[in-house]
């Protein structure tokens, strides 16, 4: 693997601004592993206890939950160079309330939460990295709440395009409909109306 595709090199690039010491980086590498995930496989299933976070370096995941009426609701997507986990469940030790499924063959670094805790205990910079990562999760969640509250369907679709550039070409339209909270038929009609 060259530097542009090696998962650890990619993550190291992202971590570079946190001045993480060499020995802490080596401890991270020692405690984690690289996994290849086939399309359709869930790295986390609803109801499961969550002991890992995943850094996706290649591929695509969806976070989804099953609604009481049987429909699937796509909560979010994780693309390359981003983290996927059921964060609240992981930190609270509670069963996950949603599943995370690979929508393409994907590569992830699997990070045990125990290791992350150890690194945060030893290192201010790991603590900072996690703090900023959680801030990002939180900001997105607030943004999503606002979109669902304020925006009509077409603008929710446009917000989806902005948030996940190019993703509309990689996934089926019914997955986008499930994310913006309308039926596939309504989305299709909406896009037809505006000439997409």
């Amino acid at each position: 693997m060259d530097k542009t595709t090696d998962p650890y090199c990619i993550l190291q690039g992202i971590l570079s601004r946190f001045s993480i010491e060499e020995k802490e980086w080596l401890a991270f590498k020692d405690g984690t592993s690289i996994k290849q995930i086939k399309t359709g496989t869930c790295i986390i299933e609803t109801g499961q206890l969550v002991q890992h976070a995943y850094f996706c370096t290649s591929g695509l995941f969806r976070l989804f939950c099953l609604l009481p009426d049987g429909r699937e609701y796509n909560v979010a997507f994780t693309l390359e160079n981003d983290f996927a986990t059921s964060y609240a469940s992981m930190i609270d030790g509670q069963p996950s309330t949603f599943s995370i499924e690979a929508m393409e063959d994907s590569i992830v670094i699997e990070i045990p939460y125990l290791l992350l805790q150890e690194l945060m205990n030893k290192s201010h910079m790991w603590e900072r990295f996690v703090r900023i990562s959680v801030e990002r999760l939180y900001t997105r969640k607030e943004e999503r709440e606002r979109e669902l509250l304020y925006l009509p369907a077409l603008e929710r679709y446009q917000a989806f395009l902005l948030k996940y550039p190019g993703l509309e070409k990689r996934i089926a339209q019914y997955h986008i409909a499930s994310y913006i909270g309308i039926s596939p038929v309504s989305l299709s009609r909406l896009l037809h109306t505006v000439g997409n």
Copy 2:
């Protein structure tokens, strides 16, 4: 003020498990101030740039936004011993997307975000405190999303009672209706049906 009502003593109690050094605590006290907020006053207004977080030691706040159809939507409440701010706006330097209004005469510690950043730069323990606070914000947001998606109105009301014990006696019923996402008339009918 005795130790049970002095805002700094209350916050220091909460911070005790973070082993924050004396000089860092003094820097915090020097850089913050105590404010008395009258019922009906907004500490943050929609559209405002947010430069402070607030720690509420007495009183009660609601975080609310104005929907496109003119209704007010209560996003969350902040009770005693908790933080209130428009966090995503504060860290991103963007105008706040909601307002925070005192529902009772309240006392807060006003904390400049710049000070918080300085403290996090100098101190691992402040960084940890903020990380854990944001994790809590995030967990609640995820919980709320789940409630709105999964639960019928009565169970959303019960979740409200569990999350904010005693709050139903301190605020008008229409504020609870606005939080659980139904009309005041529907809530009143619902509670009448179950004999509340």
